[in-house]
């Protein structure tokens, strides 16, 4: 995968998370009673959604990380050229 494609993937994954996080806030703001419902195993939506956000973050991070393994060295930039000599 090339660098622009990686950037695009990062944006897609970021947007997915942003939607989920936004959804969590919107439900809390406008439909707080929904958070008290217990959709599965007697555990309420607030806990499911909260855990879901944490697990999603971990899964998205892994997807992003593994997308580099096929082209491992390609994306690594030249950091010595762009960094600055501050001590001069």
């Amino acid at each position: 995968m090339s660098a622009p494609l990686h950037n695009r993937l990062a944006m897609v994954l970021f947007s997915i998370y942003l939607l989920l996080y936004g959804g969590f806030i919107v439900i809390n703001l406008f439909m707080p009673d929904l958070m008290e419902k217990t959709p599965y195993a007697g555990v309420n939506l607030a806990i499911w959604y909260g855990f879901g956000l944490i697990f999603t973050a971990i899964i998205l991070a892994f997807i992003y990380g593994f997308s580099f393994t096929s082209t491992s060295k390609q994306a690594s930039g030249d950091d010595s050229a762009s960094s600055q000599e501050v001590s001069k």
Partner: protein, 648 residues
């Protein structure tokens, strides 16, 4: 509560601090150059750095504050866990790789990479210093909070111990030892939290009438209002008791004060039923008399075990299906059982009495499990259940600041310079997310476990996690307290190092135009570490009574408003100019700080003024000041486009 220092706790504690310091001095030999001092030569392996991220990030506020908030209010503390973790998504997908690519030592380097402007370097340096110092205050307060019960020292001694230890760590070796301390602490925190959670599950729930000291809180009645005194006489236990006359202050409260045959006054809460009858449930009271004495439940507060003290609290009063204990619980049955139980929470009310003394009453509030596990019970999150727009904006604003703040915290950002390349920066962020996410999941179990452990100190929510550990085993208490203390050490050393970097590189080099060779830079950095460390000690003592997580909220808001707009726009908008960045930094910093200083929370908690007098409509600035930072950058950049590009 009275805390007696336990020998085991003290030994484990000093062993931790000793190992940490020893490691620092040993590693200190490896960092002689400024590159070594500030960025560990970029040689830290990505996995170590990733766990060190968790070490940096899981500060006293995360560990002590969140567990405490969940233990006293339920689910709401977990909203912080969710928000703090969400911020890492911004760090991973947007900030991590460019930060590594553009900078060398500090956040200011990255912002300034395109422009080489002393103005950017200086403003970003000041912003780093401001955010770091704000973040330092709660860490130092947390240190004092921990040391008091653990070792029996006063608050200021705890703050001084942390301050001095951290200065030693930072001065001895800089980023290398700081990173290893963070790695050590991050791993231990997660491992021991997992062990604590497993032990908690194995113990399960049981119904009780009181806390871990075996004291059972009493309920009197039912009474009718008119004949309370006569009714007391019918019970052999209370026949010689009398009702203390109600004055204008107590009349406003739901409490009744009773005096027993020895003349001791205790406070009880009235619980009325539909038939107009009422019960009295035993409350706890802490009175500070006008002449400086402290009374606990009407008796002078003791200093040793067995003498009068507030009872530890937090229990389940009813389990589902009338059970009295559950036996071991699973990861989901833990919640589903709690969902259908009844828990006794302990809110407090302060009563300023007419004779100049002040009494804090802690009273029992039987609360259904479903209410404990839903968001919106804590006053800070009242926006969830309120119909007022300003409360809703306040909630939205806080969640936004948490989301945007992480990737703008200087002590997190400098950790990107300790690894060798962008790939390592990315990988260590992923390790950080996994470690931190796992810990935050545990935080909900630990907080709720503490809530019903019977071990809570009503006066100090920050002690919930260590006290939960104590309710399970003494060695666990020793370990968790020592880890919590190293948590503070680690985060404080990271912050001091970030500040020292800002002073040395951004301010000395650009503002005062001091030319320094490598050894001089390290010397200046060490000197500024000492100065910042001393400032932190002083502030930690001054802000003793401030709520830890509230102070962290400040730092997040200021970091997000000042730093994030410049960072994002520099990466994604080619028309960004140096004037735009400088303006956005200043406007973001000044507006968010100003907003906080003029907000309701600060008026009531810091100045002791009335909430109605606050100038700002709600307390959390983020939703206004973060967009303001972006807007400032765009407008100023458009006004200051270089002539060449206009001509083209």
């Amino acid at each position: 509560m009275i805390y007696e220092p336990s020998v085991l706790a003290v030994v484990v504690f000093f062993a931790f601090v000793g190992v940490t310091l020893g490691l620092s001095f040993w590693l200190g030999g490896k960092a002689k150059t400024s590159e070594g001092y500030f960025s560990a030569h970029g040689q830290i392996p990505w996995f170590i750095n990733g766990v060190a991220f968790a070490g940096d990030y899981l500060s006293a506020a995360s560990f002590l504050g969140i567990c405490g908030m969940i233990a006293f209010y339920g689910y709401d503390g977990f909203l912080y866990s969710i928000g703090y973790l969400a911020g890492w998504i911004v760090a991973l997908f947007i900030v991590a790789e460019p930060m590594k690519r553009l900078g060398k030592f500090t956040f200011a380097d990255a912002l300034n990479s395109k422009f080489n402007s002393p103005g950017i370097q200086i403003t970003a340096g000041v912003s780093t210093l401001v955010v770091s110092i704000f973040y330092l205050i709660p860490q130092m307060v947390g240190a004092g909070v921990l040391v008091t019960p653990l070792l029996g020292f006063p608050h200021w001694v705890g703050v001084v111990i942390v301050g001095v230890t951290v200065i030693l760590i930072v001065v001895s070796a800089g980023m290398v030892s700081t990173t290893w301390v963070q790695f050590l602490k991050g791993s231990l925190l997660v491992i021991f939290s997992a062990i604590l959670t497993i032990m908690l599950m194995a113990r399960g729930f049981e119904t009780k009438e009181g806390g871990a000291d075996g004291y059972e809180f009493r309920t009197l009645g039912p009474f009718t209002t008119k004949t309370l005194e006569a009714d007391l006489g019918t019970d052999p236990e209370t026949e010689k008791w009398s009702v203390v006359a109600v004055d204008s202050v107590w009349e406003e409260t739901p409490f009744v004060r009773l005096k027993n045959e020895q003349g001791t006054v205790t406070v009880w809460k009235k619980e009325e039923d539909a038939a107009g009858k009422f019960l009295l449930t035993e409350a706890q009271s802490l009175t500070k008399t006008a002449d400086g004495k402290v009374l606990v439940n009407g008796l002078p507060k003791g200093s040793r075990k067995g003498e009068p003290e507030l009872h530890p609290v937090g229990h389940i009063s009813k389990l589902p299906e009338g059970k009295t204990e559950t036996g071991p619980l699973g990861l989901l049955t833990f919640f589903s059982t709690l969902q259908n139980s009844e828990v006794i929470l302990w809110p407090k009310t302060k009563v300023a009495e007419l004779d100049g003394s002040s009494t804090t009453v802690y009273y029992q509030k039987p609360t259904h499990g479903s209410q404990v596990l839903r968001p919106g019970e804590h006053p800070r999150f009242k926006g969830i259940r309120s119909n007022k727009t300003k409360d809703k904006l306040n909630f939205l604003s806080l969640m936004l600041a948490l989301f945007c703040g992480t990737a703008s915290l200087p002590h997190i950002l400098i950790r990107y310079y300790t690894v060798k390349d962008e790939a390592a920066a990315r990988k260590s962020t992923i390790v950080g997310i996994v470690t931190i996410g796992f810990f935050y999941i545990l935080s909900l179990y630990m907080g709720l476990g503490a809530m019903v452990s019977g071990a809570l100190d009503v006066t100090n929510s920050n002690m919930a996690a260590p006290l939960l550990a104590r309710s399970i085993a003494e060695w666990m208490f020793a370990a968790i307290s020592a880890i919590a203390f190293t948590t503070v050490l680690g985060t404080v050393s990271g912050l001091i190092l970030a500040s020292a970097g800002a002073v040395t590189h951004d301010l000395m080099g650009h503002l005062f135009k001091v030319k320094m060779n490598d050894a001089q830079q390290v010397r200046i950095a060490k000197l500024s570490s000492v100065v910042v460390g001393v400032i932190a000690i002083v502030l930690g003592i001054l802000f003793e009574n401030m709520n830890v997580s509230y102070l962290v909220g400040w730092a997040f808001s200021v970091a997000a408003s000042a730093n994030l707009p410049s960072l994002i726009m520099l990466l994604f908008w080619s028309k960004t100019t140096k004037q735009g960045i400088i303006a956005a930094l200043i406007v973001g910093m000044v507006s968010s700080l100003g907003w906080i200083l003029l907000s309701e929370d600060t008026f009531t908690q810091v100045y002791g003024l009335l909430a109605e007098d606050a100038w700002m409509p709600f307390s959390q600035p983020g939703i206004v000041t973060i967009p303001l930072g972006f807007l400032t950058l765009i407008v100023v950049s458009l006004m200051t486009q270089p002539k060449k590009s206009v001509a083209e």
